[in-house]
Symmetry: C2
Subunit: 341 residues, 2 copies
Amino acid sequence: MGILHNVNIKDLARALNLSTSTVSRAFRDNSDISKETKERILCKAKELNYQPNHYASNLREQRSKTIAVIVPELANNFFSLAIHGIERVARDKGYHILIFATDDDFEKEVSFIRHLHNGRADGIIMSVSGEANDHTYLDELAENRLPLVFFDRVYEDIITPRVITNDYKSSFTATQHLIKQGCERIAYLAVNKNHSIGKTRMRGYLDALAKSNIPFDEKLIIDCTNKYSKNIKILKQMLTALKPDGVFTSVERLAFATYYASYELGISIPKDVKVIGFSSLEIAPLLNPSLTTITQPATQIGIEAANLLFKMLDHPGSVDADKRVVLDSKLFKRNSTANLA
Amino acid sequence: MGILHNVNIKDLARALNLSTSTVSRAFRDNSDISKETKERILCKAKELNYQPNHYASNLREQRSKTIAVIVPELANNFFSLAIHGIERVARDKGYHILIFATDDDFEKEVSFIRHLHNGRADGIIMSVSGEANDHTYLDELAENRLPLVFFDRVYEDIITPRVITNDYKSSFTATQHLIKQGCERIAYLAVNKNHSIGKTRMRGYLDALAKSNIPFDEKLIIDCTNKYSKNIKILKQMLTALKPDGVFTSVERLAFATYYASYELGISIPKDVKVIGFSSLEIAPLLNPSLTTITQPATQIGIEAANLLFKMLDHPGSVDADKRVVLDSKLFKRNSTANLA
DNA sequence: TTGTATGCGTTATCAA
DNA sequence: TTGATAACGCATACAA
């Protein structure tokens, strides 16, 4: 390793007997510069492995050409795919992305957002952590906060563009599907009942029950956690005590937990209990039994969110603050909700 | 949105009737400054939401406090977990990570690496794309290239610290396991036979066959691709034409493809063919049938790689260039290799 | 077409 | 303990 003196624009200029401004011009498109000198410069630059210093450029130009992506967690198929979509758009635009995981910790979220006002990112794409807190901190920054786009998990009362799916409709459809397959005691599994997404999805569930005149049993609404072992305990308890014939999980992870709990208890899916869940798992067909899913267009959500942000960056004012893009999820019927009767 | 003039150190200094140097000192630990002024400054900073400009600091300090992570792909459980490990260490150190996915494209890898010599990152942690190419470009940068740590997929001939698993041993064990379960015609599925990891894993397979006096049939070495549909075609062809009784996949994705192909052909796992694969899938027990895996300590690999890099950054010269950390993978026997006889 | 000079926001050196 | 000043590497306005 040793001394790390990367060659800078001065070195390059000296090596070419040119001024730094001329060299600088060779790397920008619009400036006046003769073809030959430009080629000479680019050639020498390659030879010396010159790379314009990112920090100096950004400081000078007052923009970073990077966008920050804040998500609750990374080990999650939905967010992986969404980030992938964002990354594709960003790359096309010559931008980089900086990823932050809040681990569903509100403090971290606030800290990240505040921190980002140091010029490190030109804009933010975020899926929020929770909303049991006072998040008006976003409004406090309002006058000069960074361009911000929400996706999937949003704060309803913060007015900024967002890309979401039709969670109410999807939940309604999912619940109806369970009912059609013969379920009458359907448990609803949520991680955080107060989360905007948790609430919306639950409304769909409740309304579907009502429409089919199935009485609502509050005990069947189960509040789970983010801890695997704790969830298994909760679910085993739930499955034995309440004997549901259907389980609707509002989050992918809880579908897996339901499988594990059922295995341990010797409860058969779908014979004893049918399972449906929101999930972006690509190998859902390979599960035992294959899992019926409501699948969000995760990559597309990322793409739309990025497009929205870039529109805001490229043409300030061109995107209404209350703009919302709503995409449709898709129901994939598989064996975990098969009617064996 | 509007004008984005973040408050800078000058604004803050003016608001306090102090010089910028004094203000700057308040944010550094070692400098002399009176307790009261420091508190006054920090308080006002909070009030005005002042964040030291990241680019200016980095330009001035000549270090970025970020490390770059280069991986072949992101939609991969192993790399997700490894990145997670890296991120944990980096965060503790007050560093950020910048993630780059090469999509197994060697050109991109070269371009990323070159690009990173613009001061954007202080070091690089990388899992390489392929090695069918001339990658001595890394050596060309050698004199003043960034501190670099390889993990999992490495270039054998580039001398830099690395964190790997004992792939030879794991493959040997995996193949032996299949043999013990009664397999005699074991197909070996690789994505790139020339890849360092592909080669090492294949040697383990070959030696295990030899040790059990099972003749080696070259046709059973299958070179697959990164395209799902193409792989399915290759595997269906292979399963029908060669009738293996065991399949050893050197990459997670190929195990899934084998499942799909078998489903489509009506071939039963594990009755007709047993399957084992390298995989970091956490829900392997939920597959149909549950998948026997060789699982690498992915998160730990990331942690070790990051620790190594930070050691290099903190104490230049303290890590030998040929340092290698070797971790053990673990074999999880499940139903995909069950002996039903 | 090319060169000179200035400033982006910060920190370190030196002087007060 | 605090302040003035220069420098980090680059890009632009302006001069040549």
